[in-house]
């Protein structure tokens, strides 16, 4: 399945299934990735995208390969701990994947972020992570508790 086809299929699936996504509300104060900022279902969608699009460079287990940095473990934590989720979201949305930057939609980028956070043991909750950088600026990436 091509990348474009995969993205199309996922997009249609969202619409056809009437998938009910509860998007996080407007910016809230002092939220962190330990505050259940995505859903398990969203992380699963992000996993599919990740394994199809990102794993070639970053590895199927998010370990990173050479120039593509790890997206899990202490190196990921050292790079991103203290940043806001919007930073990670925008970095992915603007510059990834390297062979086709900018090809992920906002929601798909948010789904991939949800998967990365999930892989790094951030807890899932009932509200989805929205594809809105302004909202994501209010969520800080922290080590899991």
């Amino acid at each position: 399945m091509s990348l474009a086809r995969l993205i199309l299929v996922l997009a249609i699936a969202y619409v056809v299934s009437g998938f009910s996504r509860t998007v996080s509300a407007l910016p809230q104060t002092a939220r962190t990735t330990n505050d259940a900022v995505f859903t398990a279902e969203q992380a699963k969608r992000g996993e599919v995208l990740y394994q199809f699009i990102c794993a070639t460079c970053h590895g199927p287990a998010l370990t990173g390969i050479e120039a593509a940095p790890p997206l899990a473990g202490t190196t990921f934590g050292a790079s991103w701990s203290g940043a806001v989720v919007a930073d990670l979201f925008e970095r992915i949305r603007v510059s990834m994947p390297q062979d086709k930057p900018g090809s992920l939609g906002r929601q798909q980028a948010a789904d991939v972020v949800a998967y990365i956070l999930s892989f790094n043991k951030a807890p899932a909750g009932r509200a989805e992570l929205p594809g809105d950088a302004e909202v994501l600026k209010a969520i800080t990436i922290v080590s899991p508790q």
Binding site: T63, E66, G77, A78, A83, R91, Q98, F119
Partner: protein, 671 residues
């Protein structure tokens, strides 16, 4: 950001007192930085002495140059070391690898050149802005030379940025042609992100490929090295890093594997001794980073340091640092040329830092090791079809500058509980010394061989630096365990029998089929190598080492880089006092000047003020004591350089990372 940079301009009475003494001996003086490595010896050394331990903390930003508009999108991994010649700073930059010329005192752009390579650029194995460029002048013409992502060598007029009409085809040499092999002009796996080197009117160009853990095929493009005439662009010579029949070393490839095996490029910087007329080539490993079953034999010149004639490309000597590699050690950085004295004997030496933590030191005239390098029996693995070298070369001096291999003594021991958890985790892995080979990954164990170092640690492309006066070599390395294993190939992703990978939990669902998303290894892969969010091993996680090349000993070693937030704030360490750990990431180049050793932090941390950024640090060259630090908005990603114009010393470094796109920061002392 505004608040962050306000701190740069804070200058109290102390710096006001210092400025009065700045202009004495250096008024009007200009000191350039004319090549990527500071000189053709790749010392990265500058004799400048205006910025000192006493005034480093007063550095202020002279100018900033943001690279976002130079390509269709921002770049977040800006690795260039600029050049400064005649008051003009030259650099590659931006997501399309443009070349810009800037006023070196203000950062104002004088000209820009960009090549839109279309599909060829989109298919390039090594994209983005690259690591730099080369300058050449005969006193009349002055040229800038660089290699595009699509693997074309470009010559520009250094004064105007215009293509040089008499060079190649209107200023362009297509590097996919005239390479002694057939290469697809658009989709082939060859490119380069290093800067070309120019010496004695010869341009030397290497090659880079895609990461080869899961190569599409055992058959790939070969990474030959070529020399070109700087005036015409005409090829002068080629060196076959995988020797052809009849050439020296071809018999180290069994079963004619030389014919189809590729890679073995020189993607690191090269160094040149113009007096000896020799170019020093650090060659990477051939196709297959973790499996060499399709390329039986020692495989010259894979992972070899090769000295070739500057004018003809003929091999003068070589030394293979890893026989038949399967650890992706490559040779990742520039050989450093330095004249040393060992036991009273003057030696023209070449010192080669490596991922595996050794600095290999040779007489660069003859290729003889300065200190014995002993062939020691190497552990043999059991991956089907793999070829194992019975021995591997082990330097007796200098000592390794970073840890090698993994034992239980290396594991985290901040508390007995953490140590116990780490020991339990490693039970499913194979441990062993340097050169312990990969295993076929098995979920029940062994999952992988735990290794220190390979591409996930040690030193990489920034390499080292040296003070030619004291003969101290400086190198940054980071220490991180990597799980090295292979799995059988299903033939879809690669025609190799085994590829890099790890066993999945047989009870876990396939990705996207309801498999757990959370937790390390949640998609069925191996568990992450962390213990309660901490690295599996003891700190330091990042360090700078100084090696006395006259003695072959380590002079000092310090942790480099602030302790990361996720380690400093980890609940398991509450109540403990943890010295600075350094950071388990980064490619950091060091800059020795007459007065200081300078290097930036590789990652973001949060300062006590709450601001997130990175520090540019200065060390005492003789002791490693930190003597100063200034704030940067993002980590160092390009190796720093320095120059002087009008008696004022500037310090320039490329920064980027996280959500911070690439920019150059230029520092100077207050006026």
């Amino acid at each position: 950001m505004r608040r962050l940079f306000a701190s740069f301009f804070i200058c109290g009475a102390a710096c006001a007192a210092l400025t009065g003494s700045l202009s004495g001996q250096t008024a009007g003086r200009t000191v350039e930085w004319r090549t990527y490595g500071g000189d053709l010896a790749s010392t990265r050394y500058s004799p400048l002495d205006q910025i000192t331990p006493a005034n480093f903390n007063t550095l202020e930003v002279a100018w900033r140059f943001k690279t976002d508009p130079l390509g269709p999108r921002p770049e977040f991994n800006f690795q260039s070391t600029p050049l400064m010649v005649g008051g003009v700073l030259f650099t590659t930059a931006g997501s399309r690898r443009a070349v810009v010329a800037l006023d070196a005192t203000t950062g104002e752009m004088r000209w820009m050149h960009s090549e839109n390579e279309g599909a060829r650029g989109d298919a390039a194995p090594r994209r983005l802005s690259g690591r730099g460029l080369a300058y050449w002048s005969d006193g009349r013409d002055a040229r800038i030379l660089y290699v595009t992502p699509g693997y074309r060598l470009i010559a520009l007029d250094a004064r105007t940025g215009a293509l040089v009409a008499g060079f190649g085809q209107n200023g362009v040499v297509d590097l996919k042609l005239d390479d002694d092999q057939d290469i697809d002009l658009v989709n082939s796996d060859i490119g380069l992100h290093a800067a070309p080197v120019v010496a004695k009117d010869v341009i030397i160009v290497g090659a880079a490929h895609l990461v080869s853990g899961v190569p599409k095929s055992k058959t790939n493009v070969k990474g030959y090295v070529r020399g070109f005439d700087v005036r015409t662009g005409k090829r002068k010579w080629i060196f076959h890093t995988i020797p052809q029949p009849g050439e020296f070393g071809n018999d180290t490839w069994e079963g004619d594997s030389w014919a189809y095996t590729g890679n073995a490029g020189v993607w690191a910087q090269m160094s040149v001794d113009e007096d000896l007329g020799l170019v020093y080539l650090p060659v990477e490993l051939p196709t297959g980073d973790a499996y060499g079953g399709h390329r039986p034999g020692a495989g010259l010149f894979g992972e070899s340091l090769v000295a070739v004639d500057l004018q003809t490309g003929k091999r003068k000597w070589h030394y293979q640092l890893v026989h038949h590699g399967m650890w992706d050690m490559d040779i990742p950085c520039a050989p450093i040329l330095v004249d040393i004295t060992v036991n009273g004997r003057a030696i023209k030496a070449v010192a080669q830092p490596t991922k595996q933590g050794f600095v290999y030191v040779f007489d660069r005239v003859t290729g003889e090791p300065v200190w014995p390098i002993v062939e020691r029996p190497a552990p043999r693995g059991d991956v089907p079809g793999e070829w194992y070298s019975p021995t591997q070369p082990m330097p007796t001096k200098p000592p390794a500058f970073d840890r090698q291999g993994v034992t239980l003594d290396d594991l985290i021991d901040f508390t007995p509980e953490l140590k116990a958890e780490a020991v339990k985790m490693t039970a499913r892995y194979k441990l062993g010394p340097l050169f312990t080979p990969p295993v076929v990954s098995n979920w029940e164990g062994p999952l992988a061989t735990l290794v220190l170092q390979n591409f996930n640690g040690g030193v990489n492309w920034p390499g080292g630096s040296v003070d030619p006066e004291t003969k101290l070599l400086y190198v940054y390395s980071f220490t991180q365990v990597w799980a090295l294993s292979v799995v059988p190939s299903d033939g879809k992703r690669s025609d190799e029998r085994y590829i890099s990978g790890a066993a999945r939990d047989p009870n876990a669902a396939a990705p996207g089929a309801g498999g757990a998303g959370g937790g390390g290894g949640g998609e069925g892969g191996p568990p992450g190598l962390t213990v309660q969010g901490l690295p599996l091993i003891k700190p330091p996680y990042g360090r700078i080492t100084a090696i006395d090349l006259n003695k072959g000993d380590i002079a000092w070693q310090v942790a480099h880089g602030e302790t990361p937030d996720n380690i400093r704030n980890n609940p398991a360490l509450k109540g403990l006092t943890i010295p600075r750990t350094g950071q388990p990431l980064g490619r950091i180049g060091t800059l020795p000047t007459k007065t200081l050793l300078i290097a930036g932090d590789p990652g973001f941390t949060t300062r006590p003020t709450g601001q997130r950024g990175a520090m540019l640090r200065a060390y005492d060259k003789a002791t490693g004591a930190e003597v100063g630090a200034v704030a940067m908005p993002a980590p160092q990603t390009g190796s720093p350089m320095t120059y002087m114009i009008g008696g004022k010393q500037y310090l320039v470094v490329a920064v980027s990372g996280g959500a911070s796109s690439g920019e150059l920061l230029a520092f100077k002392l207050p006026s």
